[in-house]
């Protein structure tokens, strides 16, 4: 199972790298100053953030698909939101430099993720009360 997860995240990372390459290319075309900042001296740039974000996103998807425990599935969903948040921050830093819009979005994402988690735990508690398990495969009264 972990092997499968790894494959998922690897492929996601490759995809993101390709996309980010294109993204940085466009950014470079728009202004020379931006080009200088896309890959700063320390060697950490937009591409790196995007790759990490893509890995987190793919992991999230993989968890939702593979894990049967409802709480783990919830964690997968949280990962999806966080990967998007990471993207927003990174883009905010590297693409839209004179605003903090992207970072504000991330704050909102964090708040909403918390709300979503609280709600999800309540639903899972109800599932447990009714079925005595939190295995999503056991919830099969509905066809599908």
């Amino acid at each position: 199972m972990s092997a499968l997860t790894a494959i998922f995240s690897m492929s996601g990372a490759l995809l993101a790298a390709a996309l980010a390459q294109a993204g940085s290319g466009a950014g470079a075309a728009s202004s020379a100053a931006a080009a200088a900042e896309v890959v700063p001296a320390a060697g950490i740039g937009l591409v790196h953030y995007l790759v990490v974000s893509a890995m987190v996103f793919t992991l999230g998807i993989a968890i939702i698909i593979i894990r049967r425990n409802a709480i783990a599935v919830l964690m997968g969903i949280e990962l999806l939101l966080n990967s998007a948040g990471l993207n927003f921050v990174a883009f905010s830093r590297y693409v839209a430099k004179d605003g903090i819009d992207g970072q504000v979005v991330t704050i909102f994402i964090i708040v909403l993720a918390a709300a979503e988690a609280a709600l999800a735990l309540a639903i899972i508690l109800n599932i447990y009360n009714n079925l005595n398990t939190v295995d999503v495969d056991e919830a099969d009264a509905l066809k599908g």
Partner: protein
């Protein structure tokens, strides 16, 4: 420095604020009433539905007062208060009011009348109204989550029922997945353009690959939300598990809100020259697939509730035609039929669920076709209302559903997508079979073993059902005003599309 909180712009979101205020008021009132009010249905508790109806009604009033006002971008570009947002908010309010009027007796019958039900409905409605007007990515996402969370809870509202909690869990997982896709897509769009404003997204210079990736991911997210094949899988289960009237509420309002944002999103983004034709092509395929899949699977359902769920999927397919028509490169249709169709869809689908909720207690045994046998003898008016909704859903004249479909198909032909119109017409014929199957059992089969008890519907349910049926027929004969309004709303908000 501009005014950080322009008070005069509050007018534009007054309906939303009123909905949230009413929801909060209901919660607080419930707190006070709870003490001297056991068991659940004493007279003071009747105040809660009244209060919530009042809140929604007040929101409707302020909406009406603003009707036809010039489009405005308010709160530093966070919201667009235009005719399209008004129209969609009106349809959402209609669905909300119908739900609120219908549910009181229904909840009492199931012994689960709690104040938070009404509060959640109102919160959801407020979130949807914001969603329809959202003009930046923050508002888009926050309002989406606001109403989604409320609807997840509502779906699992009967928390002692296995079906309900299971449906809610599946709904939540798929909804979370959809949010994830949408959000990542929005992040890419932000990255491609450097702006979080929707209207700027369509106009500013962009980075092509990131933009397309973002568009694809966010369309997937929207696809989940409105139930486009192949992202539909949660719909039948969530619809079946949820309390019947909640199903009615979410099938109409969530779809309306989803399409409101989708139309705005697609129309704004397709201003980017490269996005339009490709997006139209993809949406056309999705539309055809959804129409075919929804109708084909609805044919073989043994449960009326699941049949209506698949019918809801198929109607998503019809609605997508309106989007395709609006962004197709040829001389152009309009997405005005989406507005008209959502209105008639709200009336007929909620009406159908209201009848389903009125014929007996919630449970699989009252959702079969057998439960409807001989309904015309037991409850002739209820059966007649269901007949009206069914022929309207099937698109047989003279009903609102017929004009809605015709309008969509016509726009498709104008946009050069006549095969899509053809698929629509052919699948409509197929749909006649399963909609009228219900009419056959209601009118032509005697009541047998599994027939539902069909208790007298409360006055609220009777009122809402009768009003919806009357409106479906009235629109069927005189659609002109509403057609004009839908064209006007699209034109005022987006120019000629």
């Amino acid at each position: 420095m501009t005014n950080p909180f322009p008070l005069e712009e509050v007018r534009c979101i007054l309906p939303v604020l009123l909905l949230f205020a009413a929801a909060t008021a209901v919660l607080i009132a419930d707190l006070f009433l709870r003490g001297w009010n056991e068991p659940a249905s004493g007279p003071p508790k009747r105040l809660l539905p009244m209060l919530s109806i009042l809140g929604a009604g007040a929101a409707g009033f302020f909406l009406w007062r603003d009707w036809g006002s010039a489009p405005a971008v308010v709160f530093h570009g966070a919201l667009r208060a235009d005719a399209f947002a008004h129209a969609m908010t009106a349809i959402i309010l209609l669905g909300t009011l119908l739900t609120l009027v219908t549910t009181a007796a229904y909840l009492r019958r199931h012994g689960t009348e709690h104040g938070e039900f009404y509060a959640l409905i109102l919160y959801a409605a407020g979130g949807m109204a914001l969603f329809a007007a959202a003009n930046n990515l923050i508002v888009l996402f926050v309002s989406l989550e606001t109403f989604s969370l409320a609807v997840y809870i509502l779906a699992g509202y009967f928390r002692d029922e296995k079906r309900a909690v299971e449906g809610a869990l599946k709904y939540f997982i798929m909804g979370g997945l959809a949010s994830g896709f949408l959000l990542l897509g929005l992040a890419f769009l932000f990255g491609a353009s450097g702006t979080i404003r929707l209207d700027d997204l369509g106009r500013s210079p962009i980075d092509q690959p990131l933009f397309l990736a973002g568009l694809g991911l966010s369309m997937t997210g929207f696809g989940f939300k409105v139930g486009v094949f192949p992202f539909h899988s949660w719909i039948p289960d969530a619809y079946e598990g949820a309390p019947t009237l909640v199903t009615g509420f979410m099938s109409v309002t969530v779809k309306t809100a989803g399409f409101a944002a989708l139309v705005r999103f697609v129309l704004e983004l397709s201003r980017q020259a490269e996005a339009g034709p490709a997006l139209a092509q993809v949406l056309a395929w999705l539309s055809a697939g959804t129409m075919i899949f929804g109708n084909a699977v609805a044919l073989v359902q043994g449960s009326v509730k699941r049949m209506l769920a698949y019918s809801a999927i198929s109607h998503t397919g019809y609605l997508l035609i309106g989007l395709v028509a609006a962004i197709a490169p040829e001389r152009g249709g309009s997405s005005a039929p989406v507005v008209f169709y959502l209105l008639s869809y709200t009336l007929m689908t909620f009406g159908a669920f209201a009848v389903l909720g009125s014929i007996g207690q919630d449970g699989p045994e009252n959702e079969t076709f057998e439960a409807f046998h001989g309904l015309s003898q037991r409850r002739p008016l209820l059966a007649f209302a269901m007949l009206v909704f069914m022929i309207s859903l099937a698109g047989i004249p003279p009903t609102a559903g017929f004009w809605g479909k015709l309008y969509l198909f016509r726009e498709a032909v104008y946009a050069g997508y006549w095969p899509l119109a053809l698929v629509g017409i052919l699948t409509s014929i197929v749909s006649v079979y399963y909609y009228l199957r219900l009419v056959v059992v209601m009118y032509m089969q005697p009541a047998g073993e599994g027939a539902s008890a069909a208790p007298a519907p409360g006055w609220g349910a009777a009122l809402a059902t009768a009003a919806a049926a009357a409106a479906v027929i009235a629109i069927g004969f005189f659609p002109q005003t509403l057609l004009d309004q839908s064209v006007a709303s699209i034109q005022a908000a987006f120019g000629a599309r």
